[in-house]
């Protein structure tokens, strides 16, 4: 009989404790984001799409050579003063495995991986990206960070 009532009492107290926890949570700050409107900032080491700072590139072809899927393609031309300039820097995103080796191997940090993660396209040719075009990621980079 005593155990019956003490069980009931202890059960009741534990239920009240649970209710207090949830009641406090009603007024605690919300931790989710309103996703398409607010987006989470990516971490420093996040590997998004391959991007290029063309003025830093010394055309050493190391990124092309190390790329395991062969998704990068460079062509250059030599001017009269023997200076080399980039002609094309193509990036085939559908082949890219986002390994980040090109970023690691680049001696001048010209090639790097940006923070874009919402990358979908309606047609396949949109995935063939010309890295020399400054507006290449314009339609994907409207990220608002909270």
């Amino acid at each position: 009989m005593i155990r019956y009532f003490s069980n009931l009492g202890r059960g009741f107290v534990s239920l009240i404790k649970g209710l207090v926890v949830t009641f406090k949570n009603i007024f605690s700050p919300i931790i989710t984001l309103q996703y398409p409107k607010e987006k989470q900032a990516m971490t420093a080491r996040y590997r998004g799409l391959v991007d290029l700072r063309p003025d830093r590139c010394i055309i050493c072809y190391q990124c092309v050579r190390i790329c395991p899927t062969g998704c990068l393609a460079i062509s250059h031309k030599v001017q009269e003063d023997k200076k080399r300039t980039l002609e094309r820097f193509d990036y085939t995103m559908e082949l890219c495995c986002f390994c980040g080796l090109c970023e690691q191997v680049c001696p001048k940090s010209a090639i790097y991986m940006n923070k874009l993660y919402e990358v979908t396209a309606y047609s396949r040719d949109k995935l063939h990206i010309d890295l020399l075009n400054p507006d290449k990621y314009a339609e994907w980079s409207n990220i608002v960070v909270k």
Binding site: L8, L19, V21, N25, P29, I30, I31, T32, Q34
Partner: protein, 320 residues
């Protein structure tokens, strides 16, 4: 002599009650989603209207447009009738709920008895849905639900009887009037009755922690697994109307009904009722589901003996 005007007034009152019921059910669905979201540190619906208030309307429109699927081997008549049995008793119970000093459809002299009788029909809808669907999950859910609702009806009714002993009347307005000096919840014996009533009512309306008839992890969606479209919506409306009804009855029986200072009586009634509804939601999003043996054990070994003892003590208190 019933004149045409009388008929028109009755019809208008009926339309008003149905409108209130649908609006209330939609508001409660929105409130439930918001309360659950905030308890879990989420936003909940935010897109449709201000903070998602119109979400329930959007859902209703979606459900109206959905295809109505009938299982091939269903018991057609029972299958078709079940959703109506879910909504109609709840609507009938509204007839005697005192919303304010003079706002009551019909103050029957057996009001609370009428409500107890009418709301017990709800279990039929669950069982009909389970039987008619010809689905093993629905059938299991219906059996569980019938056992659960009938078990919990006993402590619930005993708790109501305890109140009636103090009120000396079965009329809803009479019960409210007898609490003019002191609400019944402030009486120790009736405070216990209030607790028993709220626990049993939670089980009656099949809400967590007593929602074994809708246990998703075991029974898909329980008795309404096979229902779609408007029929599913009717079960949903019935469920939320029942939540409102049990809170309204608890307000009337224990919290002094529409009585309160300053503000008009309907506002007091709705404020108290929605507070109780909030408590039911708060409980739902706090506690896990109990097992079926725990559920039946709690009804028969804990609630019923305590309710009976409480009834006897209340009788002794009234004797002196």
């Amino acid at each position: 002599m019933v004149t045409l005007l009388d008929v028109i007034i009755r019809v208008l009152v009926g339309i008003a009650v149905l409108g209130f019921l649908a609006g209330s059910a939609m508001f409660l669905i929105w409130l439930e989603r918001k309360v659950s979201a905030h308890i879990q540190n989420r936003y909940g619906p935010m897109r449709v209207g201000w903070h998602g208030v119109l979400q329930a309307v959007a859902d209703a429109v979606k459900l109206l447009l959905k295809e109505n699927i009938v299982p091939r081997e269903a018991d057609k008549l029972v299958w078709w009738l079940a959703p109506f049995f879910a909504v109609v008793p709840s609507v009938m119970a509204f007839a005697v709920v005192p919303f304010g000093k003079h706002i009551i459809v019909q103050d029957l002299n057996i009001g609370i008895l009428y409500i107890t009788a009418v709301t017990s029909i709800c279990v039929l809808s669950v069982f009909m849905a389970g039987w008619g669907s010809n689905n093993k999950y629905a059938m299991l859910s219906a059996m569980r639900s019938a056992a659960q609702i009938i078990s919990y009806e006993i402590p619930l009714t005993i708790a109501v009887v305890t109140v009636l002993m103090f009120a000396n009347t079965l009329s809803m307005q009479g019960i409210v009037a007898s609490q003019a000096h002191r609400w019944f919840i402030f009486h120790p014996s009736l405070a216990l009755a209030f607790l028993i009533y709220m626990i049993s009512a939670t089980a009656e309306v099949n809400r967590t922690p007593f929602d074994i008839s809708e246990a998703e992890s075991e029974l898909v969606a329980g008795f309404h697994t096979e229902y779609s479209g408007m029929k599913f919506a009717m079960f949903f409306i019935g469920e939320y109307t029942n939540v409102f009804i049990v809170s309204a009855i608890a307000t009337t029986l224990f919290l002094g009904g529409w009585q309160g200072p300053l503000l008009p009586s309907p506002i007091w009634f709705l404020a108290k009722t929605y507070t109780l509804v909030f408590v039911l939601m708060w409980v739902r999003w706090t506690f896990p589901r109990v097992r079926i043996d725990q559920l039946m054990g709690f009804a028969w070994k804990v609630l019923t003996p305590i309710a009976l003892a409480n009834l006897a003590i209340a009788g002794l208190l009234l004797l002196k």
